[in-house]
């Protein structure tokens, strides 16, 4: 009997688990079925071949040709068919990525990945990317509407074909979660995800905790204007114009397709009551700090790229005598661009040339969005860097039941309910409360709402399609007038030899007396009163220097009459911008090779600036020895002879970076410890570590010009007293650290032994990423490497465009490949080129780029 019971139970369990899965274990029976399971994804890994494909919805024939490396060119008879074909091609090569990106933005990751991504889903639904996208779609008209609908049709054509063949990408088969039809809202959600990655920041929350811990020192060490020398691309003069009213937040309003209830009283226990709220900033500071910490706690559980952290893109332009020319077919202008983003496999980018009557553009597209984001057409070329301005404001709300106090009266909050399906778990229900400022995102203590410019409707796609079709700077500027978020520096060059830059977007302003760098009162007096008018946003056109360099530095000087953020708003410390200006100037007359050299440059400008001071301090301490030198003296000799290049074979690079970290930590850590800064809440935003931009700037400025700053003495006054003493101590600690870690002589401590780059898979599967591989660079080099000693953020696309009377020619490369299928020869085939600093010609619109051609018909 026991045998029978055992056999029945084991059989039921085996078949049940194999057939339906259990918890996070997928249904392995159908998933691993050798003829129909995940193996069918192998077909997507085969080399692409020429074929005739039937694609529903096309009005006429279209062609897609591929180079040997997989770069695509699409030609169609009209823009509808062009964007339909683009959607189809994106889905053919990136269906998993498409689905993952929309799931991320729409709060549906847990349905695919299980409970581990529930925190991300909850946050995204509270923040409101989905609500914003739904509202944006409701007001989208014209060419953007046509493009989004056509693109969605193209994606759905591929989904239908895959459904019919059963050849799903492996992730779908393994999880049993298959993609639903693509909609225009999904494209806008993906656009929102990129906006969030570039634009959503926690500066005011960090500042609140720093101010609470460090007191007056926080004001000094995290100032509005950086202490070091900056090189804005728009140095003025400026004009102060009246503010432009800002549209209401889409995420603050009732979503179009989600059931919404407006609660006048406590709504089923879903809306709590904040205790101890007085409405007085001084009386509630600890509560505000608590709420700030609560929000930072939530954010710490998100995926690494859901909150903006690293300011490391480059875009430069040069013209006139700065460019090597002389004859009609030689360049009149040059443009180089390399946006630094999380480097993933597959990449966020898909490289393609698009051609239809009235639309000719080439470069990189964001997978999920129609249109070329960075590239060129027949007349102009453009690239982007993040402007980094303050666009995320936080408000401490005064709440009673389901009401909040605003503009002198208690008002009902808008309440939205969401169900979040969780693979291997119970469906989670959340309620989002929304005030006039925006959604409440804190989960404990005082209610904190966020007013984020990414939630304001922004017709980015129409702007982008306008840019793609522009041929003059005036048209370029006009097209970008409707671009509101994320705020970007759009760098421009044209075939007439003009260069320019403009940073369209919303720069929110609050009434005088309010402090947008901290959480503000939500009772109405500090609401956003408008944004900087488009005519007054940072910009430049054909500057006398014939050079424009945007490297995420503060784009304007201290004279600029509007608030654009503080040093804590992730502005780059300015090292790359200053270095770019000087390096470009030194290399004049510039060629494409000059731009390529700078994009791959590994010089750390901070090291170059500070090495003389460091060497002087070490020499004064007797560490500059000869004969049979000590380890310290060998290390000092390496550093003294170094040129500042963070090459992977450089031992001095290891010494420098380790020293800088020790130096910064040695000066600031005693203060952090004494004042109990809650670093654990946000290590990147609150930690006293190298790469904390304001602290880098402070220490640089003090080392060069304020060697006795009180910070060196430490909180008890028993510290180093001077910069020189701190330098010597940090250097000795760095040498000891490297010796303990690497052993042997200092000359063997090459940077590549402790520093690497990785390109992780977006699935999170370790085996599907690239690296870690020994690499050069650091956060301050033009070829930036961010994210720690195993960097995974950096140049996500490198492009160089030469613009002459004969048109535009460009070359580019990104670290990855055009296919997301790990079995495809186009999965990582571009990585070696990128790694070696090489480029491929960017396909020309309207030309068949390779021997492999898909002929699409409707």
């Amino acid at each position: 009997m026991a045998n029978l019971v055992g056999a029945v139970i084991v059989s039921a369990v085996l078949l049940g688990v194999l057939g339906f899965g259990f918890g996070s274990i997928p249904a392995l029976g159908p998933a691993l079925d050798p003829a129909r399971g995940a193996w069918t994804s192998a077909s997507g890994g085969q080399p692409v071949s020429s074929e005739q494909l039937h694609v529903q919805g096309l009005a006429g024939p279209a062609t897609v040709s591929f180079t040997a490396q997989g770069l695509a060119s699409i030609s169609a008879g009209n823009t509808h068919d062009l964007f339909l074909a683009l959607g189809y091609v994106h889905a053919k090569f990136r269906l998993t990525e498409l689905d993952a990106e929309r799931r991320l933005g729409a709060g549906r990751l847990a349905q695919l990945a299980g409970p581990s991504d529930l925190a991300s889903d909850e946050f995204e639904l509270r923040l409101g990317l989905l609500r914003t996208a739904q509202n944006e779609w409701a007001r989208t008209t014209g060419t953007a509407r046509v493009a989004l609908l056509a693109y969605a049709q193209g994606v759905n054509d591929d989904i239908a074909q895959v459904r019919a063949s059963g050849d799903w990408p492996a992730l779908f088969t393994l999880t049993g979660q298959y993609p639903s039809p693509w909609t225009p809202v999904d494209s806008l959600v993906v656009q929102g995800v990129l906006t969030q990655d570039l634009n959503y920041t926690t500066g005011p929350l960090d500042n609140e905790l720093l101010t609470k811990s460090l007191g007056a020192n926080a004001v000094d060490w995290f100032p509005t204007l950086a202490k070091n020398t900056q090189t804005p691309y728009d140095p003025g003069p400026y004009v102060k114009l009246p503010l432009t009213p800002v549209s209401p937040d889409a995420a603050s309003s009732a979503p179009v397709t989600v059931t919404t209830t407006t609660a006048l009283g406590p709504a089923g226990g879903s809306v709590g009551v904040a205790k101890g709220v007085t409405g007085s900033r001084s009386g509630e500071s600890s509560t505000v700090a608590g709420a700030s910490a609560s929000v930072l706690d939530q954010l710490s559980q998100l995926l690494p790229y859901e909150v903006h952290h690293y300011p490391d893109s480059n875009a430069w332009a040069a013209n006139g005598p700065a460019v090597a020319g002389g004859s009609a077919d030689q360049p009149r202008a040059l443009l180089g661009g390399d946006p630094h983003l999380p480097q993933t496999l597959p990449s966020i980018w898909y490289e393609v040339a698009l051609s239809a009557p009235g639309y000719q553009a080439t470069g990189v597209t964001v997978v999920g969005v129609p249109g070329i984001l960075l590239g060129h057409n027949a007349h102009i070329a453009w690239s982007l860097t993040d402007t980094q301005n303050s666009a995320t404001f936080y408000y401490a709300e005064k709440v009673r039941g389901s009401q909040y106090y605003w503009e002198g009266a208690w008002r009902p909050m808008t309440v939205v309910h969401y169900s979040i399906p969780v693979r291997g778990g119970a469906t989670n229900q959340i309620t989002v409360d929304i005030t006039a400022q925006g959604p409440i995102i804190s989960q404990a203590g005082l209610r904190m709402a966020v007013d984020w410019m990414g939630n304001v409707p922004s017709d980015d796609l129409a702007a982008l399609l306008g840019v793609d079709a522009a041929s003059t700077f005036a048209q370029f500027k006009a097209a970008l007038a409707g671009w509101h978020a994320p705020t970007e520096n759009f760098v421009y060059a044209d075939t007439s030899g003009n260069i320019g830059v403009i940073a369209p977007g919303y720069y929110p302003q609050v009434p005088t007396g309010c402090k947008p760098w901290l959480p503000m009162s939500g009772t109405g007096e500090c609401d956003i009163s408008g944004v900087i008018p488009y005519q007054a946003v940072p910009q430049a056109y054909d500057p006398p220097s014939h050079l424009i360099a945007t490297d995420n530095q503060r784009p304007v000087s201290g004279d600029y009459p509007y608030y654009v953020g503080t040093a804590l708003d992730f502005y780059d410390p300015g090292y790359r911008a200053a270095y770019a200006y000087s390096a470009l100037k030194a290399a004049e007359p510039l060629t494409t090779a000059s731009i390529a050299a700078l994009q791959n440059d590994l010089t750390d400008p901070l090291a170059v600036r500070l090495l003389p001071s460091v060497a002087s301090a070490l020499s004064a301490a007797g560490l500059s020895g000869t004969g049979l030198p000590s380890t310290d003296q060998q290390a000092e000799a390496l550093l003294r002879a170094w040129n500042g290049e963070m090459d992977q074979d450089s031992a001095a690079a290891s010494l420098w970076w380790t020293f800088w970290g020790e130096y910064l930590n040695g000066v600031f850590a005693p203060w952090w410890q004494a004042d109990k800064v809650p670093v654990i809440k946000d290590r990147l935003g609150l930690g006293a570590t190298a790469g904390d931009v304001p602290l880098d700037e402070d220490l640089e400025a003090w080392t060069l010009g304020d060697q006795s700053n009180a910070a060196f003495a430490g909180p008890a006054g028993h510290g180093f007293k001077t910069a020189d003493a701190a330098i010597v101590a940090a250097f000795k600690k760095a040498v000891a650290h490297l010796y303990a870690k690497l052993g042997g002589a200092p000359a063997t401590w090459t940077w590549g032994r402790i520093h690497s780059r990785s390109f992780p898979s977006i699935t999170g599967a370790d085996g599907l990423g690239y690296g870690p591989r020994a690499a050069g660079g650091d956060p301050f080099t033009e070829d930036a490497a961010d994210g720690g000693l195993n960097s995974s953020t950096g140049p996500s696309w490198r492009m160089i465009a030469a613009l002459s009377g004969n048109g535009v020619s460009a070359q580019g490369v990104y670290p990855g490949g055009q296919s997301e299928n790990p079995a495809s020869p186009w999965y990582t085939n571009l990585v070696p080129l990128w790694w070696d600093g090489k480029y491929l010609p960017v396909p020309t619109p309207g030309s068949d780029t390779g021997p492999t051609v898909w002929r699409l018909d409707g």
Binding site: N3, L4, G6, A7, V8, V10, S11, L14, L15, L18, G19, P26, L28, G29, P30, L32, D33, P34, A35, R36, G37, A38, W39, S41, A42, S43, G45, Q46, A170, L171, L174, S761, T763, A765, D766, G767, L768, N821, P822, A823, S824
Partner: protein
């Protein structure tokens, strides 16, 4: 030194003949079982019926209970494993990157990212189903008496 099959052997040709006969008889019995279970498993996989190896196991388990000769379950396991190998082999012959796909699937499943891992898991699943199916059949069906069992043996 003479081999057992040598004409000089006192036992003569009777023993090798008997052995050959036994081997042939076993092959005549097991090869069809392997073939049928393999074909059923492979066809089932092709139709999306991943649970066919379990039925194969139940069938060989039932046959065993009905007095069929020993080793039937192993033949079923072998057949199911072969039956599930053939579709993968066919994919590879078609030029599809089965190894790379196997590696990717292993990585996505959180297993060590080696091609052999997923293939091993797949074949293990086939074998496991046969064994559990056979166990269930043997547990459900009454055991035949020895006499009856002898009667059906060749």
């Amino acid at each position: 030194m003479a081999s057992p099959a040598s004409p000089a052997s006192p036992a003569g040709p009777a023993r090798p003949l008997a052995r050959r006969s036994a081997v042939l008889a076993a092959a005549a019995f097991f090869v069809p079982v392997v073939f049928i279970s393999g074909a059923a498993s492979g066809l089932g996989a092709w139709l999306g019926a991943w649970w066919v190896p379990f039925l194969v196991g139940a069938a060989v388990g039932a046959l065993g209970r009905a007095g069929a000769r020993r080793g039937l379950v192993l033949a079923g396991v072998a057949g199911a494993v072969v039956g599930w190998t053939v579709p993968l082999w066919a994919l590879a012959l078609d030029g599809q990157p089965v190894g790379a796909t196997s590696r990717a699937v292993a990585a996505l499943a959180g297993l060590p990212p080696y091609a052999g891992v997923t293939i091993a898991v797949v074949l293990l699943l086939a074998a496991l189903q046969v064994l559990v199916g056979a166990w269930l059949a043997r547990a459900v069906l009454p055991k035949k008496k020895t006499g009856e069992q002898e009667a059906v043996q060749p």
